[in-house]
């Protein structure tokens, strides 16, 4: 049954799965860093909510591909980026000005990298087919 499930999957599906995984890692790092506390960048709760919605939709699309479904996780990853870009401007200027003891920590850099991967992978996935028959 599992073999049957994967048999129909096109390259887009694997890219979408990779996007989902990257987004998941983003959330895991967020949690490991202490969520919104822990003395790091006050990552916007809205951004985290958006990416979680994106992950749920991504999982849904991975399970059941439909029409423009692949665009939905992509959209939410983009929104996450937009919200994060906005909230992190303050953080980045803190780092630049040496304010509030803010530093760019490895976790923050990793979060940015994985979000970027998630966006790129989901961008590619929603262009390509997720399933061979579709």
């Amino acid at each position: 049954m599992i073999a049957e499930f994967f048999k129909n999957k096109a390259i887009g599906w694997y890219l979408s799965a990779a996007a989902c995984l990257c987004a998941l890692i983003f959330v895991i790092i967020y949690g490991v860093r202490g969520g919104d506390g822990g003395g790091y960048s006050p990552v916007s709760g809205v951004a985290v909510a958006m990416i979680i919605i994106g992950i749920l939709l991504n999982i849904g699309v991975l399970v059941k591909d439909f029409g423009i479904g692949a665009f939905l996780p992509y959209l939410f990853y983009l929104i996450t980026f937009g919200v994060l870009f906005n909230s992190e401007m303050a953080f980045l200027s803190n780092v630049g000005f040496g304010v509030d003891g803010s530093v760019v920590d490895g976790g923050f850099i990793a979060m940015c990298i994985f979000l970027a991967f998630a966006m790129i992978a989901s961008f590619a996935a929603c262009i390509m087919k997720l399933t061979k028959k579709a």
Binding site: G34, D36, G37, G38, G39, Y40, P42, S44, G67, I68, F71, Y74, L75, L78, I79, F81, G82, V83, F85, N86, S87, M89, A90, F91, S93, N94, F97, G98, V99, D100, G101, S102, F123, C126, I127
Partner: protein, 1017 residues
Amino acid sequence: MKITKIGNLLLWRVLTAVFLFLLVVGIAGSVVTTEWSGYINKYLNISNTKIVETGETTVDPYYYKSEYDTHTEVMQAARNVAYRAQAEGTVLMTNKNNALPLAKNSKVTFFSYSTADIAYGGTGSGGVTASEDRETDLLKACTNDGKLQLNTELYNYYLGQIEAGNQASNGALTRKTSAGWGAPAAYQVPEISPEDFPSNVTSSYDNYKDAAVFVLTRVGGEGNDLITTSATEDVTSQTHYLELTDKEKAVLQEMKDGPFAKRIVLINAFNTPELGWLDEYDIDACLYIGGPGEVGMDAVTDILVGEVNPSGKLADTYATDDFSSPAMQNFGDFTYANATSIVGHDGSFSNATKYLMYNEGIYVGYRYYETRYADCVNDVAGANSKTGAFASTDGWNYSEEVEFSFGYGMSYTTFEQTLDRVEVDWANKKATVTVTVKNTGDRDGKDVVQVYVQAPYTAGGIEKSAVQLVAFDKTDMLTKKTGEQTLDIEVDLRDFASYDYENYGTYIMEKGKYYFAIGNGAHDALNNILAKQGKTVSDGMDYDGDADKAYESEKTTFDENEYSFSVANDKYKIKNQFEKTDINYYDDSVKYLSRSNWSGTWPANMSDYTASAELLEDINGYYDATGNYEPAHYTPGTDTIDITYGSTATKYNIVMMMGASYDDEAWDVLLDQITLDEMIQFSRQGRTEILSVNLNATTAVDGPAAWTKSKYKTDWKDVSADEIEVTEESMVLYPTETVFAGTWNVELLYEIGVSFGEEGLWGGGVGWYGPGANTHRTPFAGRNFEYYSEDGFIAGKLAEAEVKGAMSKGVIPYIKHFFLNDQETNRIGVCTFSNEQAIREIYLRAFQYAFETTGEDDPSCTGVMGGFNRLGATWTGHHSNLWKNVMEGEFGFTGNVTTDFGQNPAGLMNPQLAYEAGTTMFCTSSATTFVNVIKDKVTKDSKLAYNLREATKRILYNFTKSMAMNGMTSTSKIVRVMTWYEIAFTVWIVISAVGTAASVLMMTIHIINKNKEVTVK
């Protein structure tokens, strides 16, 4: 054509993805640029508001006017003032056999990498890169008017090495291009060993041997203190940044061994490098040039050739060993031993785990060295003991410990100062010191009269410095041989009253013998006092003083209330306000340095200090780790909020409030018109426009050596968005404040302030984050270049003059960083501890005169920037005793209180507590931090609501006393306009939204069509 024939599914999928991306980026970009518009607009020199005149008026809407017609005129005037500051602030420290001045057109070889890379100023927010076409580098400074013939073989060699990046392993960047942030890399010394000089360089010495000049450069900057350990790997003998590196020693040896007739050193530094090597390398003359800014080198070479006669005096002591000051025992990084007990110690509140103790008490700078010297001469209190001796061969010896004393400076001419008389009016707290200065030499020149006082000291009583500066004045230009001027110098006796925090808890003036003295620096004045007391070299003095330059006056009465009332408000009693800033409040663990027992009270290093339970509670009470902004030290107000927002019943215009007193009832009417959202947005530095009262948007810009990142407008009168045109000309980079301090010229500092004010009118802005007035507590503080001196009195007087000059043109100077923010290490949140005597007599004093008002002719500064640090456990912005009792109560201050730059209300700057304490605005750029917290709380917390309204009133009140009113009349209206980037983002969003919609539609049609085809098949 059928719609399904347009493109194919893949195309529309790609376009949908691309347009979606563009749409999100466009929206995010639009939001971010809107939030940061204040900074962006300032950077682009544009405005998003314009003034529309709605009525007929004959009122001149320019309340603060420029004296100049064009931006080039104001720029040139500013450059002239900057030149004069350098000319008067350069200090001739030694000049053996009249080595200086050099003959004009002398052939000179300039040594050191720095000759081709002069440090014009410090780094960080106060760092400015001078316009290249305007900056006067050493080459220009020498060749202008044919002053000196510079050895271009060596100069070009240095230049080539810099341009080739050959020093990258040491310095990475030249100082001209590294005006970024203070960082250890910037503190490296990229000197080049003479061994590497090519033969054309070494053979050129014979053609340029009239003099060899060595430029010793040391930089400083925001964010990091100077390095107290070896700066570079290849420097084996250097133990800290302020001493010579091996390569510099080799260069000096090259000079010594060379064919040069004279050897001269220029100190291009903002701190005080160790100079015990001057004799070792046969240095004939030494000049302190500080950070010369864009034109200062011209003044320096004018001094070298005698076109200008130096008249500067040192505003800091030059110790032989920079670690010898007692303050150095507690400088740097200290973490509580029990830091893990502090809330968020490993996270956003980690700055709360740091502390710094000023155990030296009042003995900062010359107050330490001179007092210890006096006690050595009097052979009391173990002053001669080895404890605290760093450069002495036997015991503690002033001559070995100090290279150049505070206040010292030479001239190319000689002056004779005669103390004509001293009239002390103890009852009215005034004295007049009359001094005649005569130029006895053969060059015209200016001299500084310095008045010092020695107050009677009783062992075990209140600590007192053996000398303290209480007045100074600079003469006019006195003509050679005959020039003479008599100065009547007023001394306010309050300036040497002692702050007795332990007994009376206020200022007092004890009974006993007081000595007034003049001299060329603190040491000279002290020697004159000692001579008056009958001391000679046989008692251990380094030279005999002149008793005629000292005056004794006995105070025979004592009244504990005599000095305990405020100058600004004679009903306001001055009393202890900083008890919790004294670590002994918590556990009596500190023994402050006392001249009653030098060795027994020498400051202990306070590493691994364990905070008491009460101190931990005080620290933790400011933080709320839940992120709900509910710290224990704050109780939200529960009263009914009876505030009117956004009233349209009246149409007051802010400009109508000009001249209104702070208590005028009309303020309430005006404030009622303002919406809550306007008030909240206004909390961000007061930058945003308030349409409801027709307040134009304003800007505030970093100082203190320039209006940083600012360019001149084409016309100072243009304040409306539709009028402003900006030139490509950057504003002038002035010399560092250490040079300003070297002038000892209050009138010149006022002119400098006026010059900053003019530049403010011509595009700088309404708010100027300057001047800095913290104290040079140690020689290693990274930001000493932004501050005047180790002495609170001269710093205070110069700051007051500069501030008043700037205010005369309508600038709001945010004098900074108030206060006890005297080092960069852990500056954000460090718990700083000091006793109240040192606070009052030194650190607060440096700001006090600018804030203290005695009436309309002596206005209080209209702004202040609080420091990042904490006073004890309390961040400056939360310290209500400071803002309410000292600033408002004692000084009569009604200005704007801004925080230093902050973006994280959870970390240090809790807004509710800050407003409650007296902070009126947050220096922040983000709309998502402080604003969100205030928005969330203000409708539930009556205290916050009322405090926000009061803060808004305070800001507006000060704006009515500033150039923010320029261009406005009572019938003017402020209208919001879209900036070009707002228009661009709007177009971007619309196009990408339409594109997205069209792509999604086409993609959907194609999918449906495809599904149909599949179904049909």
